[in-house]
C-alpha cells in the first residue's frame, strides 16, 4: 500500500492531484515553492516507474486499469510533466485560487487520461480535464470569457458523453473496456460500428475536427494571460494521444487532417486577435498530426507524436509571449500592437524562436517532426495530401512564423511603452525556447528513441535536399508576405468577428427557429386550434373561445424540442436495427 504512494511506485498523476487539493490552503512564497516541488517530485516518480508498471483497482464490480505504462503513455507523461513545470513557472505569481488549483488538477487529469488503461478511467479523466480547464477561461472574469467558457464547457462535456455512449454500445455488443494502445478501434470504425463512430466524434471534438473546433478558437483567446498557456499544452494533446490509441491507421483521418491543416489558415490571415490567430494555427498543426495518425505507419504516427511533443513547446512559447504582451499592455489585437521590441526585447527574441520552430526552420524543433509526416504521406503516394500539407506549411510560415512576431513586436510603432516580461515568465519562455532549439539541434535523436513505433531504418533529417527544399519554402513564403505587405495587398488588421462554424449555434439557432420551427409552429397551432377548438365548438354549435389556441401554442412550443429528441431517438433505433 505504502509503495503506491512513494516515488517509483505511485500513480503518475497522484502527486499533482493531491497537490491540487492542498494548494488551495497555501499563499505567497510557500505556495510558489509547493507548486514547483510537486511537479518535480512527480517527474522523479515517473522516471523511476518500472517499464511494466500497472495499477488496478476494483470499482463497482469493474476491474479498472487506472495506470498502464506503455511507450506512448510514458512519452506523453514526460511531456505533460515538463509542460506542467514550465506552465507553473510562467504563472508563478498568480495568486487566484480559481487558477492555482486547476494549475495542478488539469495537468493531473491529462496525465491520468494518457495512462488510463480502461475506458471508464479515461472517461473520468476526460471530464475532469474539461471541468478543471474551464476555470482558466472563467478566471478572466469578463462577460465575454464567462459566456465563451460556458460554450467551451458544454462542448467538452459532450465530447466525454459521446465517448461514454460509444463505450456503452460497444460493451453491450460484447467488447471489453480495454482502451488499447495502438489503433484498437480502427477495424471497427472501418466496418461502420456505431460505438466506434461515436467515440471518434467524441475524441474529434477534443481534437478540434472541422465543425467541432469552435470551442478552441472561441475559448482559448478568452483565457487569462497565463491560463491560455496551460490550455494550449494539454487538452488537444490528450486527444491526439487517445486518437493514436484508438484510430491509428484509419483512412478517414487523412482527409479530416488535411482539411484541418488548410482551412484555419484563411482565418489566421484575417484574424486580428493574435491569440485567436494562434488558436487557428493550433488547429492547423493538429491537422498535420491527424494526417500522420491516419497514415498509420511508423513515420506517420511517430511524426504525429513527435509533432505533438514539439507543439507543446513552440505553441506554448508563442502563447506565453502573447500572454506576456497581454499582461504588460492589456491588448492582444494586431491593430493595437506593434513596435514592442523596444520595450520587450527579450520577449521578442523568444517569440522569434517560437516562430522559427513552428515554421519548421532547420535547427528548430518543427523541422524534425513535421517532415516525418510529410515523408509518410509521400511514401503512401498520397500526392494530393502531400501537396496540401506543403501548402499548409507555407501558410504556417506566414500566419504564425511572421504574423505573430511582426504585428506584435515590429510593424508600425504603436507607441506603447511597457516593462519587459517578469523574470519568471522569461525563465519559462527560456526553457521552452531551449526545448525548441535543443530538440532541433540534436535532441531529436533522443526524442526519436522515445517514440512509440520503431523505424525500420535510420532517419536522416539533415540531408542537403531536405534543408534546400525547406529553405526555399521558408524564404519564398516570407518573400511573398514581404511583397504583399509592402504593396499593401496584405489584408490589414481590423478588429472584427469572423464567422465560423459556431455561427450555427450562436446565431443560426434564431434563423432555424424562424425558418423551420416557426412555420412548423404555425401549422401546428393551426391544426391544434382546428381539431381541439374550432371543430368541437362547431359541432357543439358554439363560437370559438378567445385565447384557447394561445394556450395550446405554449404546449406546442414546449413539445417542439421533445419532438426533435424523439425523431433523433427514432433515427437511432432504426439505424441500430438496420445493422443487425
Amino acid at each position: 500500500m505504502i509503495d503506491s504512494l512513494l516515488p517509483g511506485g505511485a500513480h503518475p498523476a497522484l502527486y499533482p492531484a493531491i497537490g491540487a487539493l492542498m494548494v488551495a490552503f497555501l499563499r505567497g512564497k510557500p505556495r510558489m515553492a509547493f507548486m514547483l516541488i510537486v511537479p518535480v517530485l512527480s517527474l522523479v516518480n515517473l522516471l523511476l516507474l518500472p517499464d511494466n508498471f500497472e495499477q488496478k483497482i476494483d470499482f463497482l464490480g469493474f476491474s479498472l486499469v487506472v495506470a498502464e505504462m506503455t511507450k506512448l503513455s510514458f512519452l506523453f507523461g514526460l511531456l505533460f510533466h515538463i509542460a506542467l513545470i514550465v506552465c507553473v513557472i510562467f504563472s508563478l505569481t498568480v495568486e487566484d485560487k480559481f487558477q492555482t488549483v486547476p494549475a495542478l488538477l488539469y495537468p493531473a487529469s491529462a496525465i491520468g487520461a494518457v495512462f488510463a488503461g480502461d475506458w471508464l478511467t479515461l472517461f473520468a479523466c476526460w471530464e475532469i480535464l474539461a471541468v478543471s480547464s474551464v476555470f482558466f477561461i472563467w478566471a478572466r472574469r469578463t462577460e465575454r470569457s464567462t459566456t465563451a467558457g460556458q460554450r467551451y464547457l458544454v462542448q467538452q462535456i459532450i465530447s466525454g458523453l459521446l465517448i461514454l455512449a460509444g463505450v456503452a454500445i460497444r460493451s453491450h455488443g460484447g467488447a471489453d473496456l480495454t482502451v488499447g494502445w495502438f489503433g484498437s478501434l480502427t477495424a471497427d470504425l472501418a466496418s461502420g460500428e456505431l460505438g466506434a463512430i461515436l467515440i471518434l466524434i467524441g475524441i474529434g471534438i477534443k481534437c478540434a475536427f472541422p465543425f467541432l473546433h469552435t470551442w478552441l478558437v472561441d475559448g482559448y483567446p478568452e483565457g487569462t494571460a497565463t491560463g491560455a498557456v496551460f490550455l494550449s499544452g494539454f487538452t488537444t494533446k490528450v486527444a491526439i494521444c487517445t486518437l493514436v490509441r484508438t484510430f491509428a491507421g484509419s483512412e478517414v483521418l487523412i482527409t479530416i487532417g488535411a482539411v484541418m491543416a488548410i482551412f484555419p489558415i484563411i482565418y489566421a490571415v484575417i484574424e486580428n486577435d493574435l491569440r485567436r490567430t494562434l488558436s487557428y494555427s493550433m488547429i492547423n498543426q493538429i491537422g498535420f498530426m491527424v494526417v500522420g495518425i491516419g497514415l498509420g505507419d511508423a513515420y506517420g504516427v511517430n511524426g504525429a507524436v513527435a509533432h505533438a511533443f514539439n507543439d507543446v513547446f513552440f505553441k506554448g512559447l508563442l502563447f506565453m509571449t502573447m500572454g506576456a504582451v497581454l499582461l504588460r499592455t492589456g491588448k492582444t489585437g494586431g491593430n493595437e500592437l506593434g513596435g514592442l521590441y523596444k520595450s520587450m526585447p527579450q520577449t521578442t527574441g523568444l517569440c522569434v524562436i517560437g516562430a522559427a520552430s513552428i515554421s519548421a526552420f532547420p535547427l528548430f524543433s518543427g523541422f524534425i517532426s513535421k517532415s516525418l509526416i510529410m515523408v509518410s504521406a509521400a511514401g503512401h503516394h498520397e500526392t494530393v495530401v502531400y501537396f496540401l500539407l506543403l501548402l499548409a506549411s507555407t501558410g504556417v510560415v506566414k500566419h504564425a512564423g511572421i504574423k505573430i512576431p511582426f504585428f506584435a513586436f515590429f510593424a508600425h510603432d504603436s507607441k506603447i511603452r511597457c516593462e519587459e516580461a517578469p523574470l519568471h515568465m522569461r525563465i519559462a519562455m527560456g526553457i521552452s525556447a531551449l526545448m525548441c532549439v535543443g530538440i532541433g539541434c540534436g535532441g531529436f535523436l533522443f526524442l526519436y528513441k522515445l517514440l512509440p513505433l520503431s523505424f525500420s531504418e535510420a532517419v536522416h533529417q539533415y540531408t542537403f535536399a531536405h534543408i534546400a527544399e525547406q529553405m526555399q519554402i521558408l524564404f519564398f513564403a516570407s518573400l511573398a508576405f514581404t511583397v504583399l505587405y509592402l504593396k499593401k495587398i496584405y489584408p490589414p488588421e481590423i478588429p472584427s468577428v469572423n464567422l465560423d462554424a459556431d455561427w450555427f449555434y450562436r446565431k443560426g439557432w434564431g434563423v432555424a427557429n424562424a425558418v423551420i420551427l416557426g412555420p412548423i409552429d404555425r401549422v401546428g397551432t393551426y391544426f391544434s386550434g382546428l381539431f381541439l377548438d374550432r371543430i368541437p365548438k362547431q359541432i357543439a354549435g358554439m363560437r370559438p373561445i378567445e385565447g384557447a389556441t394561445k394556450r395550446l401554442d405554449v404546449n406546442w412550443m414546449l413539445s417542439a424540442p421533445t419532438l426533435i429528441v424523439m425523431v433523433a431517438l427514432l433515427g437511432f433505433l432504426v439505424l441500430n436495427y438496420s445493422r443487425q
Binding site: 484563411i266 484575417i270 523596444k342 534546400a468 527544399e469 526555399q472 519554402i473 499593401k488 469572423n498 464567422l499
Partner: protein
Amino acid sequence: METKPDPAPAPASPAGEKKWWLDDPKNVKKLLKGFYSACAVVIVVGVFARHGHYELEEVPAFYAVYGFVGCTVIVLAARAARPFLMRGEDYYDR
C-alpha cells in the same frame, strides 16, 4: 474597408528615447536587401538538390515557386473571404 498602414516607419518615438537600429528607414532597406539576396542564394543552392519523392520536385526552384505562389494564393483567398466572413466586433453580443 482598407485602412492604410502608416505611410512611412516614421521615427516618432517619445522624446529623448533611445534610437533603435530599426528606426532608421535606411536600415530597414538594408535588411530587405539582405533578405532578397538570401532568397537568391537559396535558389542557386537549391538547384543542386535531388529530392526523390515526385518528378515535379526536380524542376529547378520548384519549392521556391510553390512557397511563393502558395502563400500568395492563401493571402488572396483570405482577402476574398473577408467580405463574407467579417462582422462587427459585437456581432454575437447583439
